[in-house]
Symmetry: C2
Subunit: 408 residues, 2 copies
């Protein structure tokens, strides 16, 4: 993979930073791009990573000091079309991995400002990227992070991006219908439609990775040095469900499950995200192809996850209770869910299945940083889907209040 250039957009994020290191380890020339807005949003929300994270400058410097190679760090905002265009023109990437979006469903549901910001930011950033690729790197393979949440919970099997429909004696294979459950998830649906169009009209080569809920915080690269750690969110706005249950468990709090916990979703280990993106890059989409992979490895209900955490704690003599709280989201409490996830396996993905050893190791990581846990962040999210604003909102959005399990 020497001489192959990959740009990682959103390289300051939970997944973007380990992805940049992972690809660097694989021999790619990696350009790490971010606008650092996620750190500003932490300030707005009063949230912070449980694991301390270094600045991007420190991270890439440490990576270099450890003899791991150069990761080129660039501060660019995707909504700055000119800067993005210059970046693509000057680096001519072989692949772009696009994590650079507002990625929290609750954050997008706080109020009108957050909803509109999420959609404009995500849609404009991706459009700017598509135009820049079309103009300056038409052969570049776009690897875009979508979400399984684009599909919602239909009453039929979820296919990977497309479905063949027989209707009134005729047949066509068409984009799988979408029923997203938040303004954030909607923004990803919009992106998917925009990207698909540019594949058809301009010949862009794109892979849309409809990712499940990621858990874990350790990859071979983050483990090399504390300054290479990635963020670990456990609050109601940014934290994903399993990570948050583990923090609740570690500090002896009940696991807060929304409703019966029958909501079923696809999940994957952070190390599998690394592998899926790498596999996508190594087996690129063809010019004009819009390819969708469902990127997860196992399905669980929220209650199953809570029980897994409880049982892992029990094996070490710990006791954990499970609380059922009213669901602030608009989603079905119990439902059919069967989502296909074969295409990445066909490319060679070997999944890390969720084992109690993983839960144990995350618990150990949490315990290392237990003095950093902000108790006010470990509870039930106050962002209410039905009102479209946070319960605590008074004029200016207020999202820094107790928080609970967040599926994605």
């Amino acid at each position: 993979m020497r001489n192959r250039t990959v740009i990682v957009l959103g390289a300051d994020g939970y997944l973007g930073w380990p992805q940049a290191m992972h690809l660097s380890s694989q021999g790619y020339r990696v350009i790490a791009v971010d606008n650092l807005v996620r750190r500003r949003w932490d300030l707005e929300c009063g949230t912070s990573s449980l694991i301390p994270i270094s600045t991007m400058e420190r991270r890439v410097e440490r990576w270099r000091e450890l003899g791991r190679g150069d990761i080129e760090w660039r501060l660019v905002d995707l909504t700055d079309a000119e800067a993005l265009s210059d970046l693509i023109a000057s680096t001519k990437p072989d692949a772009v991995v696009h994590f650079a979006e507002q990625r929290s469903a609750p954050f997008s549901m706080v109020d009108r400002e957050h909803a509109v910001m999420t959609q404009l930011n995500n849609v404009a950033g991706t459009l700017n990227l598509l135009f820049a690729l079309h103009e300056h790197a038409p052969e570049c393979h776009l690897v875009k992070l979508g979400t399984m949440g684009e599909y919602g919970t239909p009453n039929i099997d979820i296919e990977e991006g497309f479905i063949t429909i027989e209707h009134n004696g005729r047949t066509d294979t068409l984009p799988y219908p979408k029923l997203p459950g938040s303004f954030y998830h909607l923004s990803k649906v919009h992106d998917s439609h925009n990207i698909h169009f540019t594949c058809r009209a301009w010949g862009i080569a794109a892979t849309d990775l409809n990712q499940g809920v990621v858990y874990g915080c350790t990859t071979p690269e983050t483990a090399l040095h504390p300054e290479l750690a990635t963020r670990f969110d456990y609050d109601g706005i940014w934290g994903t469900v399993l990570n948050r249950f583990i923090v609740q468990s570690a500090i002896g709090k009940p696991l807060t499950v929304y409703g019966s916990g029958g909501q079923t979703r696809g999940f994957l280990d952070i190390r599998d995200t690394m592998a899926c993106v790498q596999l996508s890059i190594e087996h690129p989409a063809q010019p004009g192809e819009f390819r969708v992979f469902n990127q997860f490895t196992e399905q669980f209900s929220v209650l199953q996850l809570a029980e897994l955490v409880r049982d892992a704690r029990a094996a070490h003599g710990g006791e954990t209770t499970i609380d059922h709280t009213p669901n602030p989201r608009f989603e079905k409490d119990t439902h059919f869910y069967n989502a296909k996830h074969q295409l990445l396996v066909d490319l060679g993905l070997e999944a890390h299945k969720l084992r109690s050893t993983l839960i144990d190791s995350v618990i150990a990581t949490v315990e290392e940083h237990i003095d950093r846990v902000d108790l006010s962040q470990v509870g039930v999210s106050d962002v209410e889907w039905t009102t479209g604003r946070s319960r605590a909102a008074t004029g200016k959005a207020q999202v820094a209040t107790p928080a609970a399990e967040t599926v994605a």
Copy 2:
């Protein structure tokens, strides 16, 4: 309908203004809202309405002088969330008819700026509206103008918004898959997904009118006085195909058909737009219901339309030739097309079918204003779908160049 308040958003447009008058004639209290941006875009593009149009102030004044009632005119931009929120809060409408979007496919394809502006403007305006309704008029019925172009040209029958899919032994009724063909059409797909979500999550009552290509320029109300006329676009950016063929024919130019002209679409008379919107208001969606009507009355291929115009001219001794030019759009030249359009008929729509008498009357209108025809606007559009920019573009977008048939 006395005491029922309807807001018409986009009331300065081709359809918005006659719709405002039509609803006023039916006894509704009508509030006409626009940001007048369409007139600014004419200046940018070097385009203008063939039929002279009055200011909004003059129009509503003339309406009053003719004893037709009050239409309340308000200058509001939907991207100004506060002004829009105040409008909804202070008027508590029973229905909102939402025409207020950038509605030209070629304009959205000029370059990056136009693509991003179209999507951000349309998506943000509609999101702002949804939040304003949710907060201040939760019972209000939203009647939103979509487009048949959201569906593209699938190889199966196009249903009205939803399709029942049987798949691997299970069945669900899901949003009809979308294959939009421009950044404009994509913006309407984004809107549809956003609106559908708020119907599910908040209980918004919405009707999405997936409208075909509108032709004609005269309604009973526009005919009352020259100052009540609506705009008539014949250029390659804003003009719809039949109106533009008629202008080409009236000035003795060949009708410019893209490719073979096999592109088939749904069409309707401007008077039927008026009726469809009124029927939708009179038979509102229920709270939480997202209803989609395919709003057109007849299917034609582009070549069929050209032949209809040629034949109508021939009946009066005129001679018209048909030119086939390369298609700058990304669309199938010939394809299966069978779109359902039954739901508005079930509500009572009695369609004005396209007759040569209609073509004759539009030709007569064009001839009245023939001295206003700008020959440089009657040709082949220079906006190229495959490049994503206008051929004449050099830095600043340049769209004021020869223009041809535009399907929607």
